[in-house]
C-alpha cells in the first residue's frame, strides 16, 4: 500500500512539475488556492516552486538579474520572518508577489537615494550584462518605451500583461483601488502609443 502510494505521489509530482513549468505562475496560483486555507505555509516548498517565476517578475521591475534575485530573496526572508502570521497557504503566493513588488520598489528608491547621497562609494549602475541587447529589436523597442513610464504604470503593465492578473488582483498586490489600476493602465497604454509613434510622453 505504501509502495502504491509513493508511486502515485511520484507520478503526481512529475506531472505537476511538468505542468507548472509549462503553464507558469498563473496555474500555480490556482493550485494553491485549491489547497486548504488553514494549512501552514511551507516556505521551502514555496521557494522551490515559485522562486524562478518571482525572479522573472522582479527582473521585469528592476531590470537586472542580480538585483531581481536580491529582491526575491528579501521577499522570501520577509515571509519567513512573518511566518507566524501566515496561516493561509492559498494566499501565500499573493503575499509573496506583493512582497516582491514592494521590495522592487524599495530597491529602485534606494538606488535613487544612494546615488544622491553616496556618489563616491556606490558604483554607477550601468545596463547589466544581461540587459536587453540580446532581445529582438521589436521587443527592445517596446521595453525601452515601457522604461520611460512612471514606476506605478510599469508595475501595472507587468502584472497585467506578464502575470496575467485581473484588475482586482493587481489592485490587491499594489495596495491601490481597482479604479486606479484601470486609470494607470489606460494612461500607460496611451503613453506607450505616443512614445512608440515617435513622440515624447
Amino acid at each position: 500500500m505504501t509502495v502504491v502510494s509513493d508511486s502515485l505521489g511520484a507520478t503526481y509530482g512529475q506531472a505537476r512539475a511538468t505542468w507548472e513549468e509549462r503553464f507558469g505562475d498563473r496555474v500555480r496560483i490556482r493550485t494553491h488556492r485549491a489547497m486548504s486555507a488553514d494549512a501552514p505555509v511551507d516556505l521551502a516548498e514555496l521557494y522551490r516552486t515559485h522562486h524562478l517565476q518571482m525572479v522573472r517578475l522582479a527582473r521585469l521591475l528592476v531590470d537586472d538579474t542580480a538585483s531581481a534575485e536580491d529582491v526575491v530573496q528579501e521577499a522570501f526572508l520577509g515571509m519567513h520572518r512573518n511566518q507566524a502570521s501566515l496561516r493561509d497557504s492559498g494566499a501565500a503566493v499573493g503575499y509573496l508577489r506583493q512582497a516582491v513588488v514592494n521590495q522592487a520598489r524599495s530597491m529602485l528608491r534606494r538606488r535613487r537615494t544612494v546615488r544622491e547621497h553616496l556618489k563616491v562609494a556606490e558604483p554607477d549602475i550601468a545596463p547589466a550584462a544581461d540587459s536587453d541587447v540580446l532581445l529582438a529589436e521589436e521587443h527592445q523597442e517596446v521595453l525601452r518605451a515601457v522604461g520611460q513610464l512612471p514606476q506605478r504604470q510599469r508595475e501595472v503593465l507587468v502584472l497585467r500583461y506578464w502575470s496575467d492578473m485581473s484588475e482586482a488582483e493587481i489592485a490587491a498586490a499594489l495596495g491601490i483601488s481597482k479604479g486606479t489600476v484601470k486609470s494607470q493602465a489606460s494612461r500607460a497604454m496611451a503613453a506607450l502609443t505616443t512614445i512608440m509613434q515617435g513622440g515624447d510622453q
Partner: protein, 295 residues
C-alpha cells in the same frame, strides 16, 4: 485587430522574451541553500524556546498589569490620585523632544542600542580611542580623538536615548518613567563628528567605525555606525558599492565584531551579520568590509 490589441500583444511578447532570459541555470544556487539554512536554523531555535518565551510573556503581562495598577492608585505629592492616562500622556510628550542628546565625544561605546530612535543621535558609537584622521570633505571636522572603554565593559552604560526622562524635571508630575515614544529597531547611528557615508572621499584613509548608509521608509537617509577595533584604518573602495578596504587593524575584526555586534542587535548569519527586521548586512571578506544591504 485594433491598435490596442496589437500593443497588448507586443507587450506580452516583449515581457515574455525578457523574463525568459532568466533561466534556472542563470540563478545563484547558493541563495536557495542560504534560505533553507535560515529556515532550518529558525526551526531549531523555535522548538525548545517556545515554553520559555511563553513563560516570559506571562511574566511580562503580569508585570505590566501590576504596573498599571500601581500607577492608577499611587497618590502624587499632594495626596491626590493621579489619573494614569493623563500621566502617560505627559510623560510621552516629554520624551519626544529628548531624542537629540548632545554627543560629548568622550562617552563609551553604547552597546545596547536596539530600539534606538532613528532620528536620534544616541551618542558617539566609536568603540575605542578612535581617531578621525581624515574628516569628510563636506564637513569641516577637525581631528577628533575619543577614548572609551572596551565593548565588554561598556554594556552597563545606558544609552542616552534609553535613559528615562523625569517629567518632574520639566515641571510636571512626579517621575513615572514611562516612555511611549515609538522606537524602531535600528543599529546605532554614526556620531555626527565621524565620517558620514555621504562624505567619504576616495584615496583618503579613515579610522574608527565604518558607515552603513540606509534609506529610511520616508525616503530620507541615515548613516549607521559599524564598530571597528580602535586604530583600524580603512578606505572606501571606489566604485564597488559600500565596501571598505582594511589597511591595518590592531586586532581581529571578526573577534571584535563577535563581542560588539550582538549587543547592538546584530545577529550572525552565514559569513556575516544581519540586523533583524532589515536587510542591513555587515561582512568581512579578506581585507574588505561590506556594510550595506544584502551583500
Amino acid at each position: 485587430m485594433t491598435a490596442h490589441d496589437d500593443l497588448e500583444r507586443r507587450l506580452r511578447e516583449a515581457f515574455e522574451a525578457k523574463a525568459s532570459q532568466v533561466t534556472p541555470e542563470s540563478l545563484d544556487r547558493d541563495r536557495e541553500s542560504d534560505f533553507e539554512r535560515q529556515l532550518a536554523t529558525t526551526a531549531a531555535r523555535r522548538g525548545p524556546r517556545r515554553g520559555v518565551l511563553a513563560g516570559a510573556g506571562l511574566l511580562a503581562a503580569a508585570a505590566a498589569a501590576a504596573g498599571v495598577l500601581a500607577l492608577t492608585i499611587q497618590p502624587d505629592d499632594n495626596g491626590r490620585v493621579v489619573d494614569a492616562a493623563r500621566t502617560v500622556t505627559q510623560s510621552s510628550s516629554v520624551t519626544a523632544p529628548t531624542s537629540a542628546p548632545t554627543a560629548s565625544g568622550s562617552t563609551g561605546m553604547t552597546q545596547p542600542t536596539q530600539g534606538t530612535q532613528r532620528t536620534a543621535q544616541p551618542g558617539p558609537q566609536q568603540p575605542q580611542g578612535s581617531t578621525t584622521t581624515a574628516p569628510s570633505p563636506d564637513r569641516a571636522t577637525p581631528t577628533t580623538t575619543q577614548s572609551a572603554p572596551s565593548p565588554t565593559t561598556s554594556s552597563a552604560e545606558p544609552s542616552p536615548s534609553s535613559e528615562p526622562v523625569s517629567p518632574s524635571a520639566a515641571g510636571s508630575t512626579p517621575d513615572r518613567s514611562i516612555q511611549l515614544a515609538p522606537r524602531a529597531a535600528a543599529p546605532p547611528l554614526m556620531s555626527s563628528d565621524l565620517p558620514q557615508a555621504s562624505g567619504l572621499a576616495p584615496d583618503v584613509t579613515y579610522d574608527g567605525p565604518v558607515p552603513l548608509f540606509a534609506t529610511l521608509e520616508d525616503g530620507s537617509g541615515a548613516t549607521y555606525s559599524i564598530p571597528m577595533p580602535a586604530g583600524t584604518k580603512w578606505l572606501v573602495i571606489n566604485g564597488s558599492g559600500p565596501r571598505y578596504r582594511i589597511l591595518s587593524a590592531p586586532s581581529s575584526i571578526a573577534d571584535y565584531w563577535a563581542a560588539a555586534l550582538p549587543g547592538q542587535g546584530w545577529v550572525q548569519s552565514g559569513a556575516g551579520w544581519t540586523f533583524p527586521g532589515t536587510s542591513y548586512t555587515v561582512s568581512l571578506s579578506g581585507d574588505v568590509v561590506f556594510a550595506g544591504y544584502g551583500g
